[in-house]
Symmetry: C2
Subunit: 250 residues, 2 copies
DNA sequence: GTGCGGCCTGACGTCGCGTCAGGGTCAAGC
DNA sequence: GCTTGACCCTGACGCGACGTCAGGCCGCAC
């Protein structure tokens, strides 16, 4: 294979392969008489390793050192890559959770502290992760146009969403006042409504994720305070109902 | 707060904040009489948004455009960030799965095709080069290549791991031959041994992940073929045993 | 008043490529 | 055999997002 084909296969540019050749990171194992680079299967293997380590944030020089280390066999690379990927997975999960928490906080008018918001960034030191940009904006005009429209919707929607949320909270409080147990059908149905409320207005929220939110309502004092202001004991009541509903679904 | 404190809080360098000031991405809302930058809470909020979008791979110029768009409210940013983070989560999970698959493949002497390995990297057209690649270095060639490398790296550990794996497979085959059901204690115990074999030699493999591997044995024809060569029906047998064991643990 | 750490503004360096410019190569079709 | 257009080559410069000095000003403790 020559450069163009390898580039297309691996999803990189020809220039990138030139660069890797120049710096000695990946030299094609042959050249034609006219000087064309010719890549063999083993070169593709190496390229694959390079791209994995690159994606994991290693500088190219370090990638070369790792791959040229004669005392490291392929299995060791796989183990290391696996470990790093799982670290990254955890970190991304933490960030997703943080964003969800902030959405909930906004919905309830709670303020998070700056330290708390930066928390998820702080531990992020050992390796740099680079994310690929999936989203590409098209024409600026069309984009601005759509933005303006969605913004118009957003205002109305926001009020509706908030009203819905408050309505739900009121019905939770009523159920509590009526003495309906937190794991009763009535309470679980309200929890399910809450879950679908989130799904419709914010993000897809499967039962398991919803259960996580439920625990947060009990554990985070600001969310607890929000519910307690409506009715004493409501935080734990909602939390229990949400978990019971999640168990019923699973 | 002045630069150093903000930098420490957010986990960036002072130079980065200087840079963001210079390019107009984040100007501190005040200066002391001596010219010291003074950051207000609102500046921290903005910095937080900047870092999130940066982490998601946006160039700084685009980040500025997003944040300065007057028609985009904070909730919209949160929704976008949430969506992008979940995309990333999925992608990372796919990469983890790919690495695990490759480890398993190595353990069994199966080789993956180049385009398969590059699959996770991009949105490349799978149809385009597949035929050509297969034609040029078809299965026998690539297989020989893989064998050569495995042989070159063969160490005592590797031989031991492989022997252990083959021993397990033989005992699975014996259980199948004896007519022990795939969800019998005998089969599940073997599955558990298999899980711990992976944990000792490759990576930590909780039951849930192990169940995923079990499904792969049945769904991926090369893994299926590997087991079927040992005994007919063994692929599905092992897959079922692994899933039953995972269910028993959970 | 004298350190000493923190802050300031240039200004140049680095990494991983993108992007021409100027020119050779190759297989196809006429 | 000749043209054509896609593909390849080697410089060489540019760029984004900072890192890293250099030279000098604050501010507070001792």
């Amino acid at each position: 294979m020559n450069v163009g084909e390898v580039a297309a296969l691996a999803g990189v540019t020809v220039r990138t392969l030139h660069h890797y050749d120049r710096i000695g990171l990946l030299r094609p194992s042959g050249r034609t008489s006219a000087g064309y680079r010719r890549y063999a299967p083993a070169d593709l293997d190496r390229l694959h390793q390079v791209l994995l380590y690159r994606e994991l944030g290693f500088p190219l020089e370090e990638v070369a050192a790792l791959l040229d280390d004669p005392s490291a066999d392929p299995a060791e690379h796989l183990r290391r890559q696996h470990r790093l990927l799982r670290d990254r997975l955890e970190r991304t999960q933490a960030m997703v959770a943080a964003v969800e928490k902030e959405m909930e906080a906004r919905d309830m008018g709670i303020d998070l502290t700056p330290e708390e918001r930066f928390e998820v960034f702080g531990e992020h030191d050992p390796e740099r992760y680079e994310a690929e940009v999936r989203e590409r904006w098209g024409e600026t005009d069309a984009h601005a146009e759509s933005k303006r429209r969605t913004a118009a919707y957003a205002k109305e929607d926001w009020l509706r969403i908030k009203a819905e949320g408050e309505d739900l909270e009121a019905r939770f409080a009523a159920a509590l006042a009526d003495g309906a147990p937190a794991d009763s059908e009535r309470a679980m149905d309200l929890a399910e409504e809450h879950r679908q409320h989130i799904g419709r207005n914010f993000y897809d929220c499967p039962p398991e994720m919803h259960a996580g939110l439920g625990r947060m309502y009990v554990e985070d004092e600001r969310f607890t305070a929000h519910y307690e202001r409506i009715a004493p004991g409501l935080a734990r009541y909602v939390g229990t109902a949400v978990e019971a509903n999640a168990a019923r679904q699973g």
